[in-house]
Symmetry: C2
Subunit: 121 residues, 2 copies
């Protein structure tokens, strides 16, 4: 819970690596909610949900405000831009890498053919 400092991408990807927390984000995308409401929706104790919200808050994905006895949770400022960008970059790398491998395979096939011809000659 303390999590003194983690690179932001580490923290947000870690926050996203739990089904419940992704669900909470989706829920908050539809409407703000109190800890109690979230705990009920996700079949969990208040304390348990509070911890999840804490993780999301640390990652900048959620902000909360307590008014009276109710703490209301909303989406935070982080819009997953860096995360989307990292993944996009990776996908480009991946595509390039597999294209390259395809070329190598093609090259091998061509050589094989040439070899076959040589041998047959």
């Amino acid at each position: 819970m303390v999590q003194y400092f983690r690179p932001p991408l580490d923290a947000s990807f870690a926050a996203l690596s739990d089904t419940t927390r992704r669900g909470v984000l989706e829920q908050l995308g539809r409407s703000d909610a109190s800890i109690t409401e979230l705990a009920e929706k996700f079949h969990m104790t208040l304390t348990g949900m509070k911890k999840h919200v804490g993780v999301l808050e640390q990652a900048g994905l959620v902000t909360t405000e307590k008014v009276g006895r109710v703490r209301t949770c909303k989406l935070g400022l982080r819009r997953l831009e860096e995360e989307a960008a990292w993944i996009e970059r990776y996908r480009q790398l991946w595509d390039a890498r597999f294209d390259e491998l395809d070329k190598v395979v093609e090259e091998l096939k061509r050589k094989e053919k040439a070899d076959g011809r040589k041998k047959r000659k």
Copy 2:
């Protein structure tokens, strides 16, 4: 390390939540590498790197093959499509949500003005 079963998004986001592992993916995007090579590049013991590769492998992000005494690591089949899609969907939710809030704020401002006029009347 065992990780019997985790929803795929859980596993891949968890795999991405570590700087070293993201680095390994970027490296493998440039060229395949042995465990030893990766361990050196990331200043870590062989055993330590082997664990990271294990996590990436479980998440489908890396595949490995051992030939002789060398285990070679390459990018796996998972291209982060579901991950990109989840994040994209979230960003749309986020935008919609904040547009909505903007409207609410506008509405409040308009009412305030109207109230002001009433009181002054």
